[in-house]
Symmetry: C2
Subunit: 282 residues, 2 copies
């Protein structure tokens, strides 16, 4: 059992983790760190956490597990303070959706003061944000990617895995760069593409939105997400996103040429191949 679990940032992910950890009795004490007392108080009131503070050093000190759940752009800036305050033997992990940069920054700090760190990314986002929409079952059935490197100890990886498994997630490991390429492909690229679809329709004729049916709504749902969060994700994962965009442009260009060719048999074969790929995802 965790003696003290400290969660820095109580938004959708941090708040849901606090609620899930409470529900599963994973920690004797749960501490929340945030920028404003006002945004932490609801979690104290509903019993999800035992103690709140706006002082990161105070919140992190004495914790055996620290989960950084602030927006991905803030995270990197917080690491030095976390490193200074964390107890020896503490495990630090995070929930950021881009991993290479944060893992590099953590390992640079660990080279000076050894501290266990594993990057993490629970794929349980939503187009809604904030503690108000957090819930104890958010991670149930979700995929959590951990991003150990050759410097990660077996014990650190095991402790991080146990945390996420205890709240019902499936855990897989990827190296940070592969993680970033994979989420660029299946998350950040689709998001940018959904944004472009909405922008394209507005550009052609905003009245065309009146004709949008379920397919368009499904395809563009993620375009209704938090602009600040996505601005930061695009920025954090710019390089891998550029690679994914290039692959997408090539794929779209090939499809367009095929449609323009009018070669019915080849068009059908390609659409059939894509359908088979998509159907495997359920």
């Amino acid at each position: 059992m965790i003696r003290r679990l400290t969660i820095v940032g109580l938004g959708l992910l941090g708040g849901s983790l606090a609620k899930a950890a409470r529900a599963e009795s994973l920690a004797r004490e749960i501490v929340a760190v945030g920028r404003r007392v006002g945004s932490l108080e609801p979690a104290l009131a509903d019993g999800a956490v035992d103690r709140i503070t706006t002082d990161i050093a105070e919140g992190v000190a004495g914790a055996d597990l620290v989960v950084l759940a602030t927006p991905v752009a803030t995270l990197e800036a917080q690491l030095p303070a976390v490193w200074r305050a964390a107890a020896e033997g503490a495990l630090v992990t995070d929930v950021g959706s881009a991993k290479a940069r944060i893992v590099r920054a953590a390992e640079a700090l660990a080279a000076k003061r050894p501290l266990a760190f594993v990057g993490g990314h629970p794929m349980a986002g939503s187009n809604l944000a904030g503690y108000g929409v957090s819930r104890a079952d958010l991670f149930r059935g979700a995929l959590v990617i951990l991003t150990p490197t050759e410097r990660t100890s077996v014990d650190a990886l095991k402790r991080a895995s146990e945390l996420w498994e205890a709240v019902g997630s499936r855990v897989m490991s990827l190296d940070p760069v592969t993680h970033d390429r994979a989420v660029a492909a299946v998350s950040h690229l689709p998001h940018l593409v959904a944004d472009a679809l909405v922008a394209a329709v507005a550009r052609m004729d905003p009245q065309f939105f009146d004709v949008a049916a379920r397919g368009f709504k499904d395809t563009t749902r993620i375009a209704a997400s938090d602009p600040v969060m996505w601005r930061d994700i695009f920025e954090q994962n710019r390089e891998a996103l550029a690679e994914a965009l290039a692959a997408f442009r090539a794929a779209l260009g090939d499809l367009e040429s095929l449609v323009r060719s009018g070669d019915g048999a080849r068009i059908e074969a390609e659409l059939e191949r894509i359908r088979a790929l998509r159907e495997r995802l359920g």
Copy 2:
């Protein structure tokens, strides 16, 4: 009340219309025309239709309302036979998802033998196809676009509207070319883009599919649709699709430049603008 309603093609749309017309007692007799008796028999067995035939002339003769619900590529080829067989005073309409070509073809025939025709497009598709997935409530709450031209009589438009309203749809009118541009933007383009997203991930690394979460599944759901149907739709609406693709490329290019610029405030403002557009759709 319709004396005889003939539906040519008993797939998802034609089958659902038969069931809905039966449920609402819209027609004294419902006749289904199809290529194979075997695929029509289930509708006879479950009482959705009263009579089945593989002979289009036989099925159409004597009907006061003929709904063409065969795949969009077949539809055009069937028109001359329908024109020859249809009774004077009959209204012919269709459910194809591209309209300019079919309306042009129908009006060319009407110039020789006057017959009431209105193009129609119920936006109630699915990635599933066939009579097996048809249902009486498919059109309830759906949008049906009718595409009258200056040659369409007020009476023909009224009769077509009444049919769709009677099965619970909202009806709007657009000229055929505007219809095709609008559905290219909000339906055919998103479909091609979803196809390209799936193809791009496969191209980068098929293992990345393992990381796909709800966002990717939502965005690419339409890529799991019937390849033959979509091959035909892309072909039928090639010109408008090319226009939509150009608008999409421009929008995507602008977004990519913006992300590359690193100008956080402008990125956020643009994502906020897009979110507001998308949120209006619900």
